[in-house]
C-alpha cells in the first residue's frame, strides 16, 4: 500500500511540473516529486526493522545507509528549490507575471 502512495506522490509531482502554468507551482511540484523519491529510499530501508539506526543491534535497526544518503539528497533538493525560487523572483521582476506561457512568448523575442 505504502509503495502505491509514494508512487502516487511522485506522479503528482511530475504531473504538477508538466501541467501547472504558474512557475511557483512548478517549483513546488518539483519539490513534491523529490520528497517522494526520498520516501522511496527511507521506506525501503526501514522495512522489517523495529528501531531507528541509532539504537539496538544491527538485527533490529533500520538500514542506516539510505538515511545518510537521503540527508544529502534533501540538501541537494533544497539548493535546487532555493535556486528555482530565486530565478522565479528575477523572472517576475523581468516579465511582471508568473505564467510560463506569457514568459515563454516574450522571452525569446527580447534577446539582447
Amino acid at each position: 500500500m505504502a509503495w502505491y502512495l509514494i508512487g502516487a506522490l511522485f506522479l503528482t509531482g511530475l504531473w504538477g511540473v508538466a501541467a501547472k502554468h504558474n512557475i511557483v507551482k512548478k517549483a513546488m511540484a518539483l519539490s513534491i516529486a523529490n520528497n517522494a523519491l526520498i520516501l522511496f529510499f527511507i521506506y525501503n530501508g526501514s522495512r522489517g526493522a523495529q528501531t531507528a539506526p541509532i539504537e539496538g543491534s544491527a538485527k533490529v535497526m533500520a538500514d542506516p545507509l539510505p538515511q545518510a544518503l537521503m540527508l544529502t539528497a534533501i540538501v541537494v533538493g533544497i539548493c535546487i528549490l532555493a535556486l528555482a525560487l530565486a530565478l522565479i523572483y528575477r523572472l517576475y521582476l523581468r516579465f511582471g507575471t508568473l505564467d510560463i506561457r506569457t514568459i515563454e512568448r516574450k522571452a525569446w523575442k527580447t534577446h539582447e
Binding site: 511522485f10 511530475l14 511540473v17 508538466a18 501541467a19 512557475i23 512548478k26 518539483l30 516529486a33 523529490n34 523519491l37 522511496f40 529510499f41 525501503n44 545507509l65 539510505p66 544518503l69 544529502t72 539528497a73 541537494v76 539548493c79 535546487i80 535556486l83 528555482a84 530565478l87 522565479i88 528575477r90 523572472l91 523581468r94 516579465f95 510560463i100 506561457r101 514568459i103 515563454e104 516574450k106 522571452a107 525569446w108 527580447t110 534577446h111 539582447e112
Partner: protein
C-alpha cells in the same frame, strides 16, 4: 605517485572557488581574486602530470575518502578514462577562465560558479559510486543554472528556468534508477553493481533494465540527444559567451562519458541498437535545424547537438575502434566548439548583434580572431589536417558498413553548409569605427591557444588515437590508423563540394523564408517534458526487443 593526490583534483577547484569568493567579500580586490583563482587552477595540472606515468602503464589509482571502504565510503577512482576527462576539463576550463579574465566583464561571483562547476565535473568523472555521481551532477547543474542566468537578460533567465525544470525531472529519474539498483543489489558502487549484474547485464531482470534506462534518461538530459535535447539551444545560446563555450565544450561531454561508462559497466550493449539510431537521427535533424538558424549562437548550439549525436552513433556502432573514435571526437569537439563559441562571442560583443545576416563582417578588424575562427570552422567541417578530420576519419572506420552511416554522411556535408553560412561574420569587410576596441591580450591568447590545440590534435591525430586506446581499453589490440593517406584525404572533397552546393541551396529566397518559419518553432516547457517522457518510454520499450 601516491593515491593521496587524487582527491586534490576536486579540492583544487574548490580552493579556487574560495579564492574567487574573497573578491566578493573584499570588493576592492575583485580583480585580484579572479586572477588568483584562475592561476590556482593550474594546480590540477600539477596533480595530473605526476599521475601520467602510472596511468599510462595501466595502473588504477583508488582513494577512499576518510579511509571508509565500500559499500559505506566514497571511493575516487582515477583510471585512464577519468584521467582523460580530467585533462579535458582542466584544459577547457582554464582557457575559458583566461578568456573571461580578458573580457573584464565578469566579476568574482562568475569565477566562483565556474570553479564550483569544475569541481562538480571532476567529481562526476572520478567517482566510484552512483550516489556521489548524482550529487556531483547536481553541483554542476546548480552552477550551470546560475551561470546561464548570470547576465540577467530576459532570455537568459527563461532559458535557465527551462533547463532547471527539465534537468531536475531528468535527475529524479536518475535517483529513481539508483533506488532500484540499491533495492535489488544493495550496493551503490559501480564496480559492485557491475559484478552483481554479471555477464547477462541489466537486460536479464525487468527492474534492473528499468534502473539502467532511468539512469540513461537522467544523464541523457544533460548530454542532449534527441528527445532530451530541447533545453540546449536556448541555454547555450543565451548564456554569457564563456559559459556557452564551457557548456558546449565540457559539461555535455562529461555527462556523455558518465553515460558510456555506466552502459559499458552495467552490460547495456542491448541498448546500442536504439542508441545508434537515436545518435544518427540527432546528428541529422539537429544539423538541419542549425541550417535554418539566423542567430549565430543558436546555430552553434544546434551544431553541438548534432555533433553529440555523431559521437553517440559512433560509440553505439559497437566496433572495437568505436570507444576511441567517440572519445577522440568528443575531445576534438570540445576544443573546436569552445573556440567557435568564444570567437563568435567576440563578434556578437563587437557588433552588438546576434543575427548573422545583420552582423558586419569583422575579418579586417580582428585578423587574428578571424583566423582562429576559420581554424575552428574548418575543423568542424573535417578539413585535413585539423582535428575534426582526424576524429571523423576514426568515426568513418568505426561506422563502416553500419546502416546509419549514410545519415552521418549527410550530416557532415550539411555541417559544412551551415558553417559556410556562419563564416560570413568573419569575412574581410570594411574597417569600421565601432570595432576600435580590440580584444584584450588574454582573450586573444586563449583563442590562439585553442586554435593551436585544434591544429596539433589534428596533425598528431594518429598517435593521440593510439594513446586513447592504451588508456581506455588496453586489452583490445589496435593499430594506429594512418590518417593522412591520399585516398582518405580525397574523402573530404565530395563533402566540401556538396557542402558548398548545400550552402547555395539554403541561400535561395525560398529556402530562407522556409527557414525563417522553421526557426520560430520552439518547443515550450510542457512539450519539452512530454518529449522527455516519450524518450523514457522508448528506452523502456527497447528492452523488450
Amino acid at each position: 605517485m601516491s593515491e593521496g593526490l587524487v582527491p586534490w583534483l576536486i579540492i583544487v577547484p574548490l580552493i579556487c572557488g574560495g579564492a574567487a569568493q574573497c573578491g566578493k567579500v573584499w570588493k576592492r580586490f575583485d580583480r585580484h581574486a579572479c586572477v588568483l583563482s584562475t592561476a590556482l587552477l593550474t594546480g590540477i595540472a600539477a596533480v595530473l602530470l605526476p599521475a601520467r606515468a602510472a596511468i599510462f602503464s595501466g595502473a588504477v589509482l583508488r582513494y577512499h575518502l576518510g579511509s571508509w571502504t565500500e559499500p559505506v565510503g566514497i571511493t575516487l577512482i582515477l583510471d585512464g578514462a577519468a584521467w582523460v576527462s580530467a585533462a579535458l576539463i582542466f584544459i577547457i576550463t582554464f582557457l575559458v577562465a583566461v578568456f573571461a579574465l580578458g573580457e573584464r566583464r565578469y566579476g568574482a561571483a562568475f569565477f566562483f560558479f565556474l570553479m564550483i562547476m569544475t569541481a562538480g565535473m571532476m567529481g562526476v568523472s572520478l567517482t566510484g559510486d552512483l550516489f556521489t555521481m548524482f550529487v556531483c551532477f547536481e553541483i554542476v547543474a546548480i552552477a550551470a543554472y546560475a551561470l546561464i542566468a548570470f547576465d540577467g537578460t530576459a532570455a537568459g533567465l527563461a532559458a535557465s528556468f527551462k533547463y532547471l525544470i527539465l534537468s531536475s525531472v531528468g535527475i529524479f529519474f536518475f535517483l529513481f534508477g539508483i533506488f532500484l539498483l540499491y533495492r535489488d543489489i544493495g550496493s551503490l558502487s559501480i564496480a559492485a553493481v557491475s559484478a552483481a549484474l554479471g555477464s547477462p547485464g541489466a537486460a536479464a531482470v525487468p527492474s534492473t533494465h528499468l534502473a539502467l534506462v532511468s539512469l540513461c534518461a537522467g544523464i541523457g538530459v544533460r548530454t542532449a540527444f534527441i528527445p532530451f535535447h530541447t533545453w540546449l539551444p536556448e541555454a547555450h545560446a543565451y548564456a554569457p559567451h564563456p559559459v556557452s563555450a564551457l557548456l558546449s565544450g565540457v559539461v555535455i561531454k562529461i555527462s556523455l562519458f558518465a553515460m558510456l561508462r555506466l552502459l559499458l559497466q552495467f552490460g547495456g550493449q542491448y541498448l546500442f541498437g536504439l542508441l545508434l539510431w537515436i545518435g544518427a537521427l540527432t546528428a541529422l535533424s539537429a544539423v538541419i535545424s542549425a541550417l535554418a538558424q539566423s542567430d549565430a549562437k543558436r546555430l552553434l548550439a544546434f551544431s553541438s547537438i548534432s555533433q553529440m549525436g555523431y559521437i553517440l552513433a559512433a560509440f553505439a556502432a559497437g566496433e572495437s575502434v568505436s570507444l576511441v573514435a567517440a572519445f577522440s571526437h568528443a575531445i576534438n569537439h570540445a576544443l573546436f566548439k569552445s573556440l567557435l563559441f568564444l570567437t563568435v562571442g567576440i563578434a556578437v560583443q563587437a557588433t552588438g548583434e546576434r543575427n548573422l545576416y545583420r552582423m558586419r563582417p569583422l575579418g579586417r578588424d580582428y585578423p587574428i580572431i578571424s583566423a582562429a575562427f576559420f581554424i575552428g570552422a574548418l575543423s568542424i567541417c573535417g578539413m585535413p589536417p585539423l582535428n575534426g578530420y582526424a576524429s571523423k576519419a576514426l568515426i568513418g572506420t568505426a561506422m563502416k558498413g553500419s546502416p546509419a552511416y549514410p545519415l552521418l554522411w549527410i550530416t557532415s556535408f550539411a555541417t559544412v553548409a551551415s558553417f559556410i553560412k556562419l563564416s560570413r561574420i568573419y569575412l574581410p569587410g570594411a574597417i569600421s569605427a565601432r570595432a576600435r576596441t580590440k580584444p584584450g591580450v588574454l582573450t586573444t591568447v586563449s583563442v590562439i591557444a585553442l586554435s593551436a590545440l585544434c591544429l596539433c590534435a589534428g596533425i598528431f591525430g594518429g598517435p593521440i588515437a593510439g594513446m586513447l586506446q592504451r588508456l581506455l581499453q588496453p586489452a583490445v589490440p589496435f593499430a594506429v590508423p594512418a590518417l593522412f593517406r591520399v585516398s582518405a584525404l580525397l574523402m573530404f572533397t565530395p563533402i566540401a563540394v556538396l557542402g558548398t552546393a548545400g550552402y547555395f541551396l539554403i541561400a535561395t529566397p525560398a529556402a530562407r523564408s522556409l527557414a525563417a518559419r522553421y526557426e520560430s518553432f520552439m518547443p515550450n516547457v510542457r512539450t519539452v517534458l512530454v518529449l522527455f517522457f516519450a524518450g523514457l518510454a522508448c528506452f523502456v520499450a527497447a528492452g523488450r526487443w
